[in-house]
C-alpha cells in the first residue's frame, strides 16, 4: 500500500498541529473538532469540550466516504440551520450508530463521527481547493464555487500544474497568476493556497481537498477535509502527522482471519496477505509471490470460475516454517468449514520460480498444516494441485507429494517444466471432466 485515506478529523488535526509552521499568525484556524467512536463516553464530552454547550453544532460520519450531504448524513439543523445542540447531536449519533446503512451499495454500520461548531455562512462564501499528484507535476484545483455542487460547476474550477522541482518563487507565481477571477481577496487566497501546497508537499499528502473552504478576513474555516497520505513517508513526515490511523473503507471490515494474517504480516519480515472473496467458494489458493498470486486469480477467472474463487492472498519474502504453517492453517480452517454442494474443493498451491525463498522450507510449513487438518480436509473433500520452482524445489515437491499421499489426500505435483498456471487449467477443466 502507499496512498491511504485518512479521516476528516485527522486531516484537520494535522492542519491545526502544523498551523504555526505553515500559516503562522497570518491566518487563523480555531480547531474545534471531536472524533466520536463507539468507545467514546458521550456523557463526558461536555466536561472535556465545554464549547459543545455554548455553540450550535454539526455532526457527520467520518469514515472516508464522501457525498455525506447528499446522503443526508450531515446533521446541522432540526428546523433551521444552526439549531443543533449537544443533546441533539448526541441522540442523532446514538441513533445512527445503531442502524445499518448502505453507502454506495455497501452495507455496514456507522462507527466514527465528527462533531464541530456550526459555522454560519452564505453559499457564495464557499470556496474550493484541492491538490493532487501526477507523474512529474502536482495539480492544484481552485474555485470560487465550492460546496456540494462543485462537480456541477467544474467548468469554473481552475487547474494549475506545478512541476515537482519548482522553486518557492515559481510556485508562488504560478498560483498567484491563476487564482479564479471570482475569488474576492485574491492575494490572501493565493497566499493561503501557496502555504497549503507547501504543507501538502512536506507532509507527503497524495490528495488534499477542502470543500467548502470559507475565509473571513484572516479566519479560515475548512468545513470539510478529504485527505490521502503516502504511508511510506512515515519515516519522513510521521512526526508531523502525529498519531495517524488508516481506516479501512466503509463496510470493508476485516474478518477475524484476515485480521490475524494482517497482524502476522505486520510483525514479520516476510509478506503474508489474505483476502476472503467468497467463503462458500470452491477454489482456494495458496500462492507464493505478489505477481504470481494475481496471475493465478486471473486464470481462475479467465476459465470462468470467478464466482468459485474463495480467496486472494500471497506469501513471499522467505517466511519461516512457522509463519507458513499458521498462514496455511488459517486458509484450511476457512475451507473446511463446510462441504461444497458440487463436489470436492480445489486447492491450488502455486507459485513462480522463487528467487531465494527456500521452497522445501515453506513446503514443510504447508505439510505441517496439512497434517493437522488432514481429517477435516478429507471430510470436506479436497483435491490439491501444486506447482512451484526455485531453491530446493525438487525436495519440496517430493515431500509434499509423499505427505499428502500418506495422509490420503489426492494431489498432483508439478515443477518449473510445467507452465505456472497450467495447474489451474488441469484443476478446473480436466479435474471436472473426470469427476
Amino acid at each position: 500500500m502507499a496512498q491511504r485515506g485518512i479521516r476528516e478529523y485527522d486531516g484537520k488535526r494535522i492542519l491545526a498541529q502544523n498551523w504555526q509552521d505553515y500559516f503562522g499568525n497570518d491566518f487563523e484556524y480555531d480547531f474545534k473538532s471531536i472524533l466520536i467512536t463507539p468507545e467514546t463516553d458521550l456523557d463526558k464530552i461536555p466536561e472535556e469540550y465545554p464549547w459543545v454547550k455554548e455553540t450550535p453544532l454539526v455532526a457527520k460520519p467520518d469514515m472516508l466516504f464522501g457525498k455525506r450531504g447528499k446522503l443526508g448524513l450531515i446533521f446541522f439543523k432540526k428546523e433551521k440551520p444552526g439549531d443543533v445542540t449537544w443533546e441533539d447531536a448526541k441522540e442523532w449519533i446514538k441513533q445512527k450508530m445503531s442502524e445499518e446503512v448502505e453507502i454506495n451499495g455497501v452495507k455496514g454500520r456507522l462507527t466514527h463521527f465528527l462533531v464541530e461548531p456550526f459555522v454560519p455562512h452564505k453559499p457564495e462564501e464557499e470556496y474550493y481547493v484541492a491538490i493532487t499528484t501526477d507523474e512529474d507535476e502536482d495539480v492544484i484545483y481552485m474555485s470560487a464555487f465550492g460546496g456540494i455542487e462543485v462537480e456541477e460547476n467544474w467548468d469554473k474550477v481552475v487547474e494549475v500544474r506545478i512541476p515537482i522541482t519548482a522553486s518557492d518563487e515559481e510556485i508562488k507565481k504560478i498560483i498567484k497568476e491563476n487564482v479564479p477571477a471570482e475569488i474576492k481577496d485574491k492575494e490572501k487566497f493565493a497566499d493561503f493556497v501557496y502555504r497549503l501546497y507547501k504543507l501538502f508537499r512536506d507532509l507527503h499528502f497524495a490528495y488534499l481537498e477542502i470543500n467548502p473552504l470559507v475565509m473571513v478576513g484572516n479566519k479560515v474555516y475548512p468545513l470539510d477535509f478529504v485527505g490521502r497520505v503516502d504511508d511510506t513517508a512515515q519515516f519522513v513526515a510521521g512526526r508531523k502527522w502525529g498519531e495517524l490511523e488508516f481506516p479501512a473503507g466503509f463496510g470493508r471490515d476485516l474478518t477475524p482471519e484476515e485480521k490475524y494474517i494482517k497482524e502476522m504480516d505486520e510483525k514479520s519480515g516476510a509478506s503474508l496477505k489474505l483476502t476472503i472473496l467468497n467463503p462458500e467458494g470452491r477454489v482456494w489458493t495458496l500462492v507464493a509471490g505478489g505477481g504470481a498470486s494475481v496471475v493465478y486469480a486471473d486464470t481462475v477467472a479467465d476459465l470462468g470460475y470467478v464466482k468459485e474463487l474463495a480467496n486472494y492472498g500471497e506469501y513471499s519474502g522467505n517466511p519461516s516454517r512457522t509463519e507458513t504453517r499458521e498462514y496455511v492453517k488459517t486458509v484450511f480452517d476457512l475451507m473446511t468449514r463446510n462441504k461444497h454442494p458440487e463436489g470436492d474443493k480445489i486447492l491450488i498451491i502455486g507459485g513462480a520460480i522463487a528467487n531465494f525463498t527456500d521452497v522445501a522450507k515453506t513446503f514443510d510449513g504447508i505439510i505441517d498444516a496439512m497434517k493437522e487438518y488432514a481429517d477435516k480436509l478429507k471430510d470436506v473433500g479436497v483435491k490439491i494441485y501444486v506447482r512451484r520452482g526455485g531453491p530446493n524445489y525438487e525436495i519440496g515437491l517430493k515431500r509434499i507429494k509423499e505427505a499428502a499421499e500418506e495422509l490420503g489426500l489426492p494431489i498432483e505435483v508439478y515443477g518449473p517444466e510445467t507452465h505456472m498456471t497450467e495447474i489451474v487449467r488441469k484443476a478446473l477443466k480436466e479435474g471436472q471432466e473426470a469427476a
Binding site: D136, S293, D298, D302
Partner: protein
C-alpha cells in the same frame, strides 16, 4: 566506454555496490565467473563500515573489494564504473540516488528498496530524465543482460540462471514489473524460445524511474533483440504508452504483451491485488482495457496468461524459420565451487582442525563451562572456586575443596603495597600507564622469589614424601644436594611463638574437612626439624597452601604423576596469580584515585659505585 547507447550493460560493465550486502555481491561475482568475465563489482559503499575492504570469491580465488564511505569517493577512484547498484534501505535510498545522479561517470542506477515515498520517487525520476540517466526501480530485483552483467539477485540461484539460459544472450527483450514473474518469464522464454537478450524488471511502485517503453525503445535499436515480451499489470497507463509507440512506428519488432490483474474487474476497487502500483484508478488502467489497447495497436496478446508460452513459441519458430534468429552455440559453463559452510552442512567435506578445546563451548544456544550452561552456574549459585574447578580442572569440586580454594584466593589476594609485585604496579600506575600495563608489571614479578613458593613447596615436599625421606634426611638433602632453602619454610617475622594466623586457619580447616592431610602432616614434621634450628623457620602460608593442594588433589583422585603435571604446568602457582591480581587491581585503582605523580626513586637510597674501564 564504447558500448552503443541502447545498451546499459555489456561484458565490461563495472558497478559500484551501495551497501555491504555480502550475499548479493557474491551472487554477482558467481555470475561473472560462470559467464567468464572479470568481476563486475569494483567498489562497495558502506558509510557505517569501519573496514577498508571485504573479501569475496571469484571462482575458487578470493578477491578484495574496497569499501568507501561515499559514492562520490568510490566513483573518483573508479571512473570506469557507470552503474550504481543502490541497495540502501527505503530511508536512505533517495539520498543515495540523488548523490549518484550528480556524479558524471554514473549513468545507470538500480534501486531495490521497497517503500520509498512517492514524492521522492517522482523527484528521482525527473532528475534522472533531465540528466539523461537511467533509473531502474525502485522496488525491483533489477534486471540482467545475459552473458554480460547481472544486477544483484536477478534470476535467482545459479542453477536457475543456467536452466533459464540467463548465462548467455538469447533473442528476446523482456520487460516486467515484478521480480518473481521476471524469473518465471525468463524460464518460459528459455523453454519456448532461445532465452532473453536483455531483461528489466521496472519495479512495482506507482512511479518507476524508467518504464516499459524506455527499455523497449532500447530493445528496438538493439540488433540482438528479435522480439519483445512485455508483462504489464493492472493500474497506471505505462502499457498504453507502449501501445502508442507500436501504433506510431517507434516500435516495429514483434511485441508479445499481457497485463496481469484481469481479476480486479470482478471485485471493483475494494481488493488490492498485487503491487502498490496495481490499482486501477480509471477504466483505461484496468488490465482488460490495456490488453485490448495493446492488441489493437498490433501487439500479440494472448487470451490468458496460460496461453503465453504458445504465443512465444509461435513467434520464435516463425522468426527462426525465416532465418532471422540464428542457432546459438551453447557455451561451456564452469561449475561454481560450493561454499565450504554449505558443503559441511551437507556432509560432503571434512578437514582436520588446528585447535582443540576441552573446557568450554560457545557454539550452542548458550556458552557452557565444561558442559554446564552459564545460566546454571548462576542459578545453582556456583562459587568462584566452583567455576575455577570447571575451567581449570574440568571438575565440579566437592564443597570441602571449593571452600578451601575460596580460602586460598582470599588469603593470597594482597600483602600490602611494599611487596615487589604491588610496588611495581604502583610505580607503573604512577607513570601514567593503563590498567593492563600496570597490573601486568605486578604479575610479571611473580616467580621463584615472589609468590612462587607454592609450586616449590608442593614439588619438594611431595618428592621427599614419595621417596620416603625422613624429615631430617629431607632438610639435609635440600641443603647439600639442591643447595637451596626449602620453599615454603621461613617467615620474616612470624615464628613458633608468634604463629601466622592465616596458616593456623588453613591447617585447622584441612584437619577438619580434608579426607586426609598426609603431606601437611609430613611438612609439619619437617617444620619441627627446621624450627629447632631457628624459630622463624616455620611452615609459611605458601608452603601450607602448596602441601594442602597436593593433599586436596590426592583426595580428589589424582595420581601422583598427574599432580606433578599440574605443578609443572603452573596450576598451583595459578591460585596465587589469580588471587594476587585482585590486590594488584586494588593498588592500581588506588593510585588512579590518588592521582599521584611519577615516582622517582631518591638517589640517596642508591649506592652509586660506578667504576668503568672506559677511557
Amino acid at each position: 566506454m564504447s558500448k552503443p547507447d541502447y545498451l546499459l550493460f555489456d561484458r565490461n560493465t563495472k558497478a559500484i555496490f551501495w551497501n555491504l550486502n555480502r550475499n548479493a555481491i557474491q551472487r554477482m561475482l558467481d555470475y561473472d565467473y560462470v559467464i567468464g568475465r572479470d568481476p563486475s563489482i569494483v567498489a562497495i559503499v558502506a558509510p557505517t563500515q569501519s573496514r577498508k575492504f571485504d573479501k569475496f570469491f571469484y571462482g575458487t580465488q578470493e578477491i578484495m573489494i574496497p569499501i568507501y564511505k561515499s559514492t562520490t569517493e568510490a566513483a573518483k577512484d573508479f571512473p570506469e564504473a557507470d552503474v550504481l547498484l543502490n541497495f540502501a534501505s527505503f530511508r536512505t535510498a533517495y539520498d543515495v540516488t540523488m548523490e549518484a545522479l550528480d556524479i558524471p561517470t554514473i549513468r545507470t542506477i538500480a534501486i531495490t528498496a521497497e517503500g520509498i515515498p512517492e514524492r521522492f520517487a517522482r523527484t528521482m525520476r525527473i532528475r534522472a530524465k533531465e540528466l539523461g540517466k537511467w533509473l531502474i526501480g525502485p522496488a525491483t530485483v533489477g534486471g540482467i543482460a545475459p552473458g554480460a552483467f547481472r544486477i544483484a539477485n536477478t534470476g535467482g540461484t545459479i542453477e536457475n540462471i543456467i536452466k533459464s539460459k540467463l548465462h548467455r544472450p538469447g533473442s528476446v527483450g523482456l520487460v516486467t514489473r515484478s521480480g518473481g514473474l521476471f524469473n518465471e518469464l525468463s524460464n518460459v522464454i528459455a523453454r519456448n524460445a532461445n532465452g532473453i537478450a536483455e531483461g528489466i524488471a521496472i519495479g512495482g511502485d506507482r512511479y518507476p524511474g524508467t518504464d516499459f517503453l524506455d527499455h523497449m525503445l532500447r530493445y528496438e535499436k538493439n540488433p540482438q533483440v528479435k522480439f519483445m515480451v512485455l508483462l504489464g499489470e493492472v493500474g497506471g497507463t505505462l502499457e498504453l504508452r507502449v501501445a502508442e509507440a507500436i501504433k506510431d512506428g517507434r516500435i516495429t519488432k514483434p511485441v508479445i504483451a499481457w497485463c496481469i490483474g484481469t481479476i480486479s474487474k470482478h471485485f471493483g476497487g475494494e481488493v488490492q491485488f498485487g503491487h502498490a502500483g496495481a490499482k486501477a484508478g480509471a477504466e483505461a488502467e484496468t488490465a482488460d482495457a490495456k490488453n485490448a489497447a495493446l492488441r489493437e495497436a498490433g501487439a500479440l496478446v494472448p487470451q490468458s496468461f496460460n496461453d503465453l508460452p504458445e504465443l512465444i513459441r509461435g513467434v520464435y519458430e516463425e522468426l527462426h524459420a525465416k532465418g532471422e534468429i540464428p542457432e546459438i552455440q551453447e557455451p561451456e559453463v564452469p561449475p561454481i565451487p560450493e561454499d565450504y559452510a554449505k558443503a559441511v552442512k551437507a556432509g560432503k567435506v571434512r578437514k582436520p582442525t588446528n585447535f582443540i578445546c576441552t573446557i568450554s563451548d560457545d557454539r550452542g544456544e548458550e556458552a557452557t563451562y565444561c558442559g554446564v550452561p552459564i545460566s546454571t552456574v548462576v542459578e545453582k549459585n556456583y562459587s568462584i572456586a566452583d567455576v575455577i574447578g570447571l575451567l581449570w580442572f574440568k571438575k565440579k569440586f566437592p564443597e570441602w575443596a571449593s571452600n578451601f580454594i575460596d580460602m586460598v584466593i582470599k588469603v593470597v589476594a594482597d600483602h600490602g603495597p611494599a611487596v615487589s609485585g604491588a610496588h611495581n604496579t604502583k610505580v607503573t600506575a604512577r607513570a601514567g600507564k593503563d590498567l593492563m600495563s600496570s597490573i601486568v608489571t605486578g604479575i610479571l614479578t611473580i616467580g621463584p622469589r615472589f609468590g612462587g613458593a607454592i609450586d616449590g613447596a608442593a614439588k619438594y615436599f611431595k618428592m621427599a614424601k614419595e621417596k620416603g625421606m625422613d624429615p631430617v634426611e629431607f632438610v639435609d638433602y635440600m641443603k647439600k644436594v639442591e643447595k637451596i632453602p626449602i620453599p615454603g619454610i621461613g617467615h620474616r617475622i612470624k615464628s613458633t611463638k608468634n604463629p601466622d594466623k592465616r596458616v593456623e586457619l588453613l591447617k585447622k580447616y584441612a584437619k577438619e574437612n580434608f579426607p586426609s592431610t598426609e603431606l601437611l602432616d609430613y611438612a609439619l614434621e619437617v617444620e619441627k626439624v627446621t624450627t629447632s634450628k631457628k624459630e622463624n623457620l616455620i611452615l609459611n602460608v605458601d608452603g601450607t597452601i602448596g602441601v594442602l593442594l597436593v593433599d586436596m588433589f590426592r583426595a580428589l583422585g589424582y595420581k601422583d604423576e598427574e599432580i606433578d603435571e599440574l605443578i609443572n604446568a603452573g596450576a598451583f602457582n595459578a591460585f596465587f596469580v589469580l588471587g594476587r591480581t585482585i590486590g594488584f587491581i586494588g593498588h592500581y585503582l588506588d593510585e588512579k584515585r590518588l592521582d599521584m605523580p611519577l615516582y622517582r626513586h631518591p638517589t640517596d637510597d642508591i649506592l652509586y659505585d660506578v667504576k668503568c674501564d672506559v677511557e
